[in-house]
Every structure is written in structure tokens, then in C-alpha cells.
Symmetry: C2
Subunit: 266 residues, 2 copies
DNA sequence: ACCGATGGTGATAATAATGAACCGATTGAC
DNA sequence: GTCAATCGGTTCATTATTATCACCATCGGT
């Protein structure tokens, strides 16, 4: 990793505190939580405001995300239309398997859901797009880590808290790395109720041009109707969708991954 | 304006070079265009990468916008759902008048288009969402400035270059402020081919809770089919849409603005 | 083999960021 | 009504950071 700029990192550290549940901050509290001096935080915020990344409420004096992020997101989607490209395959998958499908992108500490497709049938799993998916406790997280760039894997592992969300959650680094090896061999990840009870996640990585995972696609299934045969059928469909999306992005998944997918179909 | 951090400003300066038409940059060319030393630019880019705002293509070594902007845009829209709230009224407006409708947000030097709705009819104006709209040469810019918070007006005026885009462009500060006074009286702004020939923009401000403009909605019309009667009809529809969107945001437009809108309908 | 690009690195000189103390204004408790 | 605590924001001497240039290895074209 090359050298970077501490001041800029601090600015982004501040940005990371603006979340859906806490979208607006006062100066003092934000500085305290970010571990920065008030004066420093204010100067950083002034730069963020100048760049349009942050706005300040003129009466409450609180800070919130600005409109520049909307602009940049538009540019990014216009140039590399990930969400738009992933939608059709995700919709096909949901229709095919009759379960909720979601697409996630990695962030520092967890995965973020960027797309949810729910099937027509009456009983289905609801996925909250605003809820971060922990790496160690979700099928998507495991599928991503298993095929992630080594430095991203390492970084993500340093943030995993191994908190047990249910009694099935993986709670040690050794168990996690062992599980990742199995996933690499089988191409897809299953989280049997390790995040929420009653749901089973089946996930596969989406690859970028470098051959590493850049995103995930997953089915969120009702545990009550799962069988080994159904799991294989869904896993085959999910890995196939992951291959489709990867190719739509101009990337070719690793040969071993393609092979695993074809083995599932057989 | 409070003190800011030069280093952070430089990082954002780099970010501003990633556009729809030039979404990926090599290190040397970006540094040259940004007026920065290669080494400096690289370190800034490393920080941007660490924050997820920029990605580097592993083979071409080029830099592009990262997924963090998607995440922040999601958070911003979840907390302050401007785009989602503005869409239905904008679509209704486009259908009603049969012209292209666009919604813009102010940035430092110009307006940025965040939403475009094109009508079904064969002949229509195409609005490029990636092109910034100069304050002095577009109906949206004038409508915004006429109802902007005084400090924002002053800031925007300091950035206006008064460059003539066509022979009808306003090219002096005096002409601009005079025009703004007229717009305040009439509630909407018209740019008769002052930005591009053959198109006429009709714009109105969207208000926030403080009673000042926070965004704009505009119709981009073909000049060839414009008549005084049609202008009034469209202006009435546009101002009505601006009122609808303002109320959807929880804001009540000033009484004089409502009155002007009702006068147009009469 | 050469040329002129490219992406990237390292050491020092030049510059910027830092943070404790401070200010005026609110707020809430008594 | 007063006191104490907190708020947003500013100041300036101290300090740590960043900018820059020369340099390297590599690539594609002639």
C-alpha cells in the first residue's frame, strides 16, 4: 500500500459517521466520537462543506451529508452502471427461484445492500437495505471474503467483531478462515440462520476484471422450506447469476468458479 | 467562511475531474490537469482509495470513482429523500406539458442536474445530466438565485464568469440582478436561448423549510413551438410542480410565490 | 537500441495542521 | 436570578505534516 495523506483520511473518518440512523451531527459530539479536536473537526467539516459533501443546517447548526455525493453517485453509475447492470439478472434469479434476491457491495466493516428484488409469492424474506451485513455472519459476507483481494480480506478481518447474532454464528477467526476455504472449493456460501433465525442465505461473489470479488449476489430463503436438493438448485442459480453479472461488467470469473457452477447444475 | 484544510480541498479538487465524459484517469494526466505534482496526486488518490471514493483498475492502473459515493448517496437519500420525493411530481409535469423536465441542485459554481424526465413525443430536448448549468445563463440558475439565501446568492455571484454562451446570455452583474428582481415578481424564470439555441428553459425554485430556494425544477422546451400563451401555461405548471415538491419536502413556499402561481393559472 | 512516455518512490525543504485556552451565547438546575 | 455546564466557533504558538525534485523501472513505438 502506497503512502497516503493523514489529513484526508481524517476527513473521510468524519464522513463515515453520517449514517441512516444518525444522519445529522453537532460539532462537539461529532468531534468527540471521531476522537478529534473540535477545531480540527470544524476545519475538516469546512472543507467537506466547500466540496459539497456536507451541508450545515443554518438554524440548528448541525452537519449532514451534502448533495455532492448525489452528483458523484450519478457520475459513477453513468460510467460504471453496476446497479443498473445487475438488476436484470437479479430479477431473473428472483423469478426463477421464488425467493428474495439482494446485491451487496463491500464497505469497511460490513456489506451494504444496494439492490433488493422480492418475488411475487406470499411468503418471502424481507431484506432491509439499510442494515449492514456483517462479514462473519452472513452468506454474502463469507462469499465475498472467500474470493476477495487478499488485502481487502485482511482489512475486513481486522474489523470483524465475531459477535454471535445467533447460536450458529461463526465466532472465531480460525473457524472463519476454515469456512472460507470450503467456500472457495464450492463457489457459494450458505449461512444457516447465522444472522437471523428462520432465514437461510445462499450467496456467490461477483467478480471484477482483476479476478477477485467486487460484490455479491445472494438469495434470502425461508428456512422452513429448505431441503438439500433445493439448496443445490438455488446455489446453481445464484452462482450462474453471479457469472452473468460479472460478465455484464466485462469481467470473466475464474475457471474454477465456472467449473464449480457447472458441477452444481449436474 | 471559516478556515478549511488545504490538503482536503486538493483531494476534492482531484475528485471533481471524474465526470461522465472522462470517468477514468491515469496518474500523470490527472496530476497535470489538476495542477499538482505526480507524487502529491498519488498520495491524495491513495487516501481517496482508502476511503472508497476512488478505485484503481488493477491492470490499466487508471483511477475512477469508487463505491463509497454510492453508499453515501444512499444514506443521504434515506435521510433526506429529495430525489425520490421529486420524481413523481416531475413525471406528472413532463406528461402534462409534453416537454423534458429536469430537477437541479445548486453547487458552488453551477447547478447540477439530478433528475431528467423526457416526454414520449418524438421531438424533445435532450438534457445532459452531467453538464453543469451556469447560474447566469440558464432559467434554472436564475430561478434559484432569485429566491436563494442571500449568502448563497453572494457566493454564487462571486463564481459567475458571465461568459456569453449565446448572444442572449446575460453578461453583466447589473443585468443579472435586474433580471432577478423581475423573476422574484413573476415566480418563474425564462431563458430564451441564453444557454443553447433552439431551447427555451422555464424554471421555478423549490423551497426548503427556511423559505429560500434549495433546488429548481425546469422545463426544457423547443423554441420552435413556443408561444406566449404556451409559455404562460407551462410556467403555471412548472410553478405548481415547484410548490408540490416543496410541500412534499415539508416546506411551505412564500405566500407571494403561491399568489404568482395562481395569477398564472388565471 | 533508443526515445519519450508512463506509474511510482524517497529525502529534504517548505508548509501546513494541531490543540489548549479562550470567547460569547444558550441551556438547565436550583 | 444566578451559577455551571455545554454549545459553536476562534486564536496563535508549537509541532508534525506535506510538497517537490530527482530518480527508478517499465512499457510501446520507431
Amino acid at each position: 500500500m502506497g503512502k497516503s495523506m493523514g489529513t484526508v483520511d481524517k476527513a473521510f473518518h468524519l464522513l463515515s459517521f453520517f449514517t441512516v440512523s444518525e444522519p445529522a451531527w453537532g460539532l462537539s459530539e461529532l468531534a468527540r466520537r471521531a476522537g478529534q479536536d473540535k477545531a480540527t473537526a470544524l476545519r475538516l467539516l469546512n472543507s467537506l462543506i466547500a466540496g459539497g459533501f456536507v451541508e450545515q443546517d443554518p438554524v440548528a447548526r448541525t452537519f449532514r451529508l451534502g448533495t455532492a455525493v448525489l452528483k458523484l453517485a450519478r457520475i459513477r453509475e453513468a460510467s460504471f452502471p453496476f446497479v443498473a447492470l445487475a438488476r436484470p439478472p437479479a430479477e431473473r434469479l428472483s423469478e426463477q427461484i421464488g425467493e428474495t434476491v439482494h446485491v451487496c457491495l463491500p464497505e469497511r466493516e460490513a456489506l451494504a445492500t444496494v439492490q433488493v428484488v422480492e418475488p411475487q409469492r406470499a411468503t418471502r424474506v424481507h431484506v432491509d437495505p439499510s442494515q449492514p451485513l456483517p462479514y462473519h455472519a452472513t452468506a454474502s459476507g463469507l462469499a465475498f471474503l472467500a474470493f476477495a483481494r487478499p488485502d481487502l480480506l485482511e482489512s475486513a478481518l481486522s474489523y470483524v467483531d465475531f459477535r454471535a447474532h445467533t447460536e450458529h454464528t461463526i465466532t472465531s477467526k480460525e473457524a472463519l478462515t476454515g469456512q472460507l476455504a470450503k467456500i472457495r472449493a464450492g463457489a457459494y456460501a450458505v449461512s444457516g440462520s447465522s444472522f437471523e433465525l428462520e432465514t437461510i442465505g445462499i450467496a456467490a461473489p461477483i467478480f471484477d476484471a482483476s479476478g477477485f470479488a467486487t460484490a455479491t449476489v445472494a438469495a434470502a430463503c425461508l428456512a422452513s422450506r429448505m431441503t438439500p436438493e433445493l439448496e443445490t438448485r438455488i446455489a446453481s442459480a445464484v452462482t450462474g447469476t453471479a457469472i452473468d453479472i460479472s460478465r455484464a461488467l466485462g469481467a470473466e470469473p475464474p475457471a474454477v468458479f465456472i467449473q464449480s457452477h457447472m458441477d452444481l447444475a449436474a
